[in-house]
């Protein structure tokens, strides 16, 4: 009996060792658009992956009479983030149009990059034709980007930008970026505030998870325009607290900030979800007349609230466009060898009741 169990263990370990070693050998043989690559991708294209958060978008025939079917890996930021979900919908639509397969993965949390690194490494091991991602935090992904570039797999980023200077510093190629400029968005909010509110307006800011790029960039943009916090700042920031992108936390934080500062006039919520929670707290405290809400992201519910006058404004972006343009660029890169330019700006708009219809029309194109 004992010999048998030891034997089984040795065999299992040996199999694992062999797989690991051959995996390492295989990775160093990677080429970008060689036929070897496409052979392995057509194997994986028809099967469905066993990762529980992935979904395959495959088509029956490839476009343009091409024999090879391309496989791309797309990594979301968070399966429950409506912006990320809308972006995914854009990707799925474009994938159908181009006739390619996109393997979609999503981390279980929008905080931290470990899961995204894992997905990138898996994609590299599967020798996909291209990888594009909505990073939660670019800082955590440098090593993964390095691996992708060393394997010769085109790598593109959506919504958050890999700073080209930093890439150069690290000795890496630049990562093409499709998305908005959050700093610019913050600038627009700052200008909107200056145009619509007198100096010294009592303001509270509800922020997202500390350290998230989205957070820091939007705040940076805001303070660039209104001035550093302090006596010279256009707005009087009486409180700034995080609600970690969560609607319930937004509600509680707003309630407590109201208790401490009953004469608040303006709320800036760095994402719509938190703004919705804040709105509930303001409604309960019967202070809707007194307080205006500016928020960011332009999710469907937020647009409804702008229409109803509950939100003063939100910053709209085009997540679907980002997804579509990103996949198109990656496709062109792989098929024609044209590496996209460093930045493609999909545009931010401050959406108010005035331009709401115009914005909605532009979205559904």
């Amino acid at each position: 009996m004992r010999l048998k169990s030891i034997g089984v263990k040795i065999v299992t370990l040996a199999i694992i060792a062999i797989m690991v070693l051959s995996g390492c050998a295989g990775a160093s043989n990677n080429t970008t658009s060689g036929s070897e690559n496409n052979d392995t991708s057509s194997d994986t294209a028809s099967g469905s992956e066993n990762d529980n958060t992935s979904s395959d978008t495959s088509s029956d025939e490839s476009s343009g009479g091409d024999e090879k079917e391309l496989v791309f890996a797309y990594i979301m930021s968070d399966a429950a983030n409506e912006y990320s979900v809308q972006q995914k919908e854009g990707v799925e639509a474009k994938a159908k149009e181009l006739g390619v397969t996109v393997d979609i993965q999503s981390p279980t949390t929008s905080e931290g990059s470990e899961e995204q690194v894992g997905f990138i490494e898996t994609a590299i091991a599967r020798k996909v034709d291209g990888i594009f991602i909505f990073p939660n935090s670019v800082e955590g992904l440098y090593t993964a980007v390095q691996k992708a570039q060393e394997s010769g797999i085109p790598f593109l980023s959506l919504t958050h930008r890999f700073d080209p200077d930093k890439m150069e510093e690290l000795g890496l190629e630049y990562v093409p970026y499709v998305g908005v400029n959050n700093v610019l968005g913050g600038n627009l909010v700052g200008e909107f505030m200056k145009e619509n509110f007198p100096k010294g307006t009592k303001t509270v800011i509800i922020t997202g998870s500390e350290g998230a790029n989205t957070n820091t960039e939007r705040l940076q943009g805001l303070f660039e325009i209104v001035g550093e916090q302090g006596p010279d700042c256009w707005i009087d920031v009486v409180a700034m607290q995080t609600a970690n992108w969560d609607v319930e936390q937004g509600y509680k934080v707003m309630q407590n900030m109201l208790s401490a500062n009953p004469d608040i006039e303006l709320v800036f919520a760095i994402c719509d979800t938190m703004g919705i929670g804040a709105l509930r707290a303001i409604e309960e405290a019967n202070k809707k007349e007194q307080i205006s809400i500016i928020s960011y992201d332009g999710i469907r519910e937020a647009l409804s609230l702008v229409e109803q006058g509950d939100f003063l404004a939100t910053v709209g972006m085009k997540p679907r466009d980002e997804g579509q343009i990103g996949l198109q660029y990656l496709y062109d890169w792989v098929t024609k060898g044209e590496k996209p330019q460093q930045d493609t700006d999909t545009g931010v708009t401050v959406v108010t009741q005035e331009n709401l219809d115009e914005y909605r029309a532009a979205l559904s194109e």
Binding site: D246, V247, A260, T273
Partner: protein, 323 residues
């Protein structure tokens, strides 16, 4: 019983939980003082009402968590179940199902999840930590699946009545908390079921030998856990009129913290359910106070952790004296 026994019982009760109630008063006093320094009025009726209402959902979910912990188990799935039930109910309400009916379906879903937890733990002998950890992921995945990761909004106004009505000017959340705690405290202290839960938590083998049906009692405890998680999810949905798959994250830690601050041992078998309510209030007051003082989030986290440790330290004072 005669009045002397009554009085000595009350004295014993208060004395045993003295540190806890003193702690809560202390926290109130500290924040009143600190806020006054900043020109903020802490002790207003609105503020106190806000704090109680903010603690209500955690307090209700903690009832279920406490019952499970008292029986010697643990339930890490509470937050995810709340999110799942919220999404499920939101989906049904949007599909046109009457609100009351959707509410019942939601709570039943919670009970069923609790049942599955209990079956895995009591009958399949899967350790509670693993079973509920796995269920946490499953329920979270379920919440995502309901609407493909997208939140659900725009409900009929009546949905808000569940959470936002007032009765004689008292927020209905306060009434719910009082009623639920009153009922469950009676159940845990006076009924056979309650005694059996304590017995299992205290010493499972002895309970088996005494003829307690350990498996069914434990199963029931997890069903209760699932039920209260679901109720929490319903409350959250009605309060915010917005369902997100990410809701309730971290609830399990808040529920467990409320339970242990309230003096229930993590190993089970001892502690009073009513004190969990105090634990939840302490946590809620702490968070609210720190936010009112505009304390940086990093400091809020550290303070909360410190308070939990200190609270349990005082709880264990009698144990240390016994050694």
């Amino acid at each position: 019983m005669d009045s002397k026994t009554k009085i000595s019982r009350i004295a014993w009760l208060l004395q045993n939980s003295f540190a806890l109630y003193f702690g809560m008063l202390l926290i109130f006093a500290v924040f009143t003082f600190l806020c006054a320094l900043r020109g903020i009025d802490f002790l207003t009726p609105t503020n106190i009402s806000n704090i109680v209402v903010q603690s209500a959902i955690t307090a209700v979910i903690s009832i279920g968590a406490s019952v499970v912990i008292l029986s010697g188990g643990i339930d890490l799935s509470v937050g995810s179940v709340a999110a799942f039930v919220g999404m499920l109910m939101a989906f049904f309400v949007k599909s046109g199902i009457p609100i009351g009916f959707a509410c019942v379906i939601g709570i039943m879903a919670g009970i069923i999840i609790g049942l599955i937890n209990g079956l895995g733990i009591s009958y399949a002998k899967i350790p509670a930590l693993i079973m509920t950890l796995g269920m946490m992921s499953i329920a979270r995945g379920g919440a995502l699946a309901v609407n493909d990761g997208k939140p659900i909004a725009n409900f009929p106004a009546e949905l808000g009545l569940i959470a936002n009505s007032t009765i004689f000017g008292i927020p209905i959340f306060v009434i719910y908390v009082l009623v639920f705690y009153a009922v469950m405290v009676m159940v845990m202290s006076k009924s056979k079921f309650g005694r059996h839960v304590y017995a299992i938590g205290g010493n499972e083998k002895a309970a088996v030998l005494s003829g307690v049906k350990v498996k069914s009692v434990s199963l029931a405890a997890y069903c209760i856990g699932g039920m209260f998680s679901a109720i929490g999810g319903v409350f959250l949905l009605s309060r915010l009129m917005y369902a997100t798959p990410n809701a309730g994250s971290g609830y399990e830690m808040d529920a467990i913290a409320s339970t242990v601050i309230g003096g229930i041992a993590l190993s089970g078998g001892s502690g009073k359910l009513i004190n969990t309510l105090v634990g939840a209030l302490i946590l809620s007051t702490l968070k609210a106070g720190l936010q009112m003082l505009n304390v940086p989030y990093s400091v809020q986290q550290m303070t909360t952790g410190l308070v939990i440790i200190i609270a349990v330290y005082f709880d264990k004072a009698s144990e240390r004296r016994a050694e």
